[in-house]
Symmetry: C2
Subunit: 307 residues, 2 copies
């Protein structure tokens, strides 16, 4: 009697899980909801057991704002300026030169000190247009989607072209994604006992670039399963979406299209940051879902009122 009652309650809760609220009704929301229904319904041809329900999300431009420039790049610029205050010309550096300087600035730091410096910067830095902390500029519909997938037994991973440490310091608090579910670009790190303390120290080289064709490789290394759902927004995500779509059974590959200059930014084929060109053609050819931020999302940021 008690057991039956508990099972009934548990079943009702499972049925009652809400769709992501900030998605407007229409074909894109339908594609997500019907995919999730298909892979989670026992007895359906598309059923996938929970341990194989791996969903991977790009971060920059897919889960949070990447314009006018990548947030990590804004951090690196500040760090280089702080390390070289006698060289005001650093503000005019081009990207490769900046990255080169940043690598030198971070080299020899412990991983823990590096994390602290990123945390401290994120607490005070503000987005130039929205004048808010960068961690406010996450996409509310995507945050809801992360929760929606987790509620349906998915393992949700971030697979970012950005530095793994940069995303790990805030992803758990902001997205509910723990450090072990962040895959990213990795700098050379070595183990040493420094002043009697076992510690990890950053080198000056990149060890692995988790972008473009590197994303399926990053997934192989960290997860060892082919995802069944992949979410991106730029050409750097194309291989990840293609690799995901290439498996058997139900698959969902989805691109976020930045087409809302009023509430956020509008960019695609010609963008310097977050270029979406080849992947947009492939989406049309291969039947990937392309989300219009303007039409499909009732709000973009958590601080907005739905419209």
């Amino acid at each position: 009697m008690t057991v039956a009652l508990v099972m009934f309650v548990a079943h009702s809760v499972a049925l009652a899980k809400p769709d992501p609220a900030s998605w407007n009704d229409g074909p894109r929301k339908d594609a997500i909801v019907s995919f999730v229904r298909d892979v989670t319904r026992r007895g359906s041809a598309g059923f996938v057991p929970p341990e194989e329900r791996v969903a991977v999300f790009d971060n920059d431009g897919t889960l949070w704002c990447e314009h006018p420039t990548y947030v990590q790049l804004a951090f690196l610029l500040e760090q280089v300026k702080a390390a070289a205050p006698d060289h005001p010309e650093t503000t005019d550096l081009d990207l490769p030169a900046l990255l080169e300087l940043a690598k030198v600035a971070e080299s020899g730091m412990t991983v823990a000190a590096h994390e602290d410096s990123m945390r401290a910067w994120l607490e005070t830095a503000r987005h130039p247009r929205f004048d808010r902390p960068y961690t406010d500029l996450v996409y509310q519909p995507m945050v809801e989607l992360l929760g929606y997938l987790r509620d349906h037994g998915f393992q949700v991973y971030i697979v970012t072209g950005g530095g793994i440490e940069f995303v790990r310091v805030w992803a758990e608090e902001v997205y509910g994604v723990p450090p072990e579910h962040v895959v990213g670009t990795v700098s050379e790190v070595t183990y040493e006992v420094r002043d009697g303390e076992p510690t990890l120290v950053r080198g000056s080289k990149l060890d692995f670039v988790d972008d473009g064709p590197g994303k399926p490789v990053g997934i192989y290394r960290a997860i060892g399963r082919r995802p069944i759902a992949a979410f991106g927004n730029s050409d750097g995500d194309r291989h990840m979406l293609e690799f995901t779509a290439g498996g058997d059974g139900s698959r969902l590959s989805l691109l976020v299209h930045h087409d809302d200059a009023e509430r956020e930014y509008a960019y695609d084929r010609a963008a310097g940051v977050g270029q979406l060109d080849v992947a947009l053609d492939q989406a049309a050819r291969d039947g990937w879902v392309v989300v219009s931020m303007k039409d499909d999302w009732s709000r973009i940021f958590p601080f907005e009122e739905p419209r």
Copy 2:
């Protein structure tokens, strides 16, 4: 009323979780049980929330038998012999030459085909002394310990010096450790679309060696948290145990000492495979737990009767 009853039942189940049965009573079992009690009891000074209860296990010699040689090496030898049937002298090759040939043999294979070849080999291969499949030769007390830690909210990872794919193909079935919880040595892998199929292909180089000082780096990459418990058996695990012990709060670093020539093998300071020398001295100095397979385990393999 129903809620109270359910909570009561859940609480009773938690209390009823058995200690690992194949461990003999004594100081080593006490060290494990009291560590787990300390980090899981709410309100205790040593309490650690479940998401931070990361436990890492070496594989060869810690979870399964590594003598007379590493199982993966036996596989590689077979593979090289199969690839070069006209060169019977391969049986006499030394280790570096064998590894070099094996890398060439595996180069250009898809990851999926490589996994299939390992699975097929494991089904028929037999251990030369025990005449059983290698996957029978796991240590029953350690398999129980994996379950005991999981029952207490730990996230259990394997951190192996061996190839990540080699362990992933059987770790879930044998240990209950899923692919995403296996950290290991990684060969160069590239993404390509081969005959229209998005796929991962093995190269001929090692990309990352997850051994010795590489183990804390592998943990950093894949987990991003410092473990609170680490289990090993050889000098290659020393840095991982030291890194684990170097964090704040309750920590458990444990070495399995192979001292049972009758039921398994006896080796330590002079061993060619699984040498335990520097780590044994450090264990004494730093207070790590050293397990005697002979005295502390009532049985070694699952197929034995407890004695």
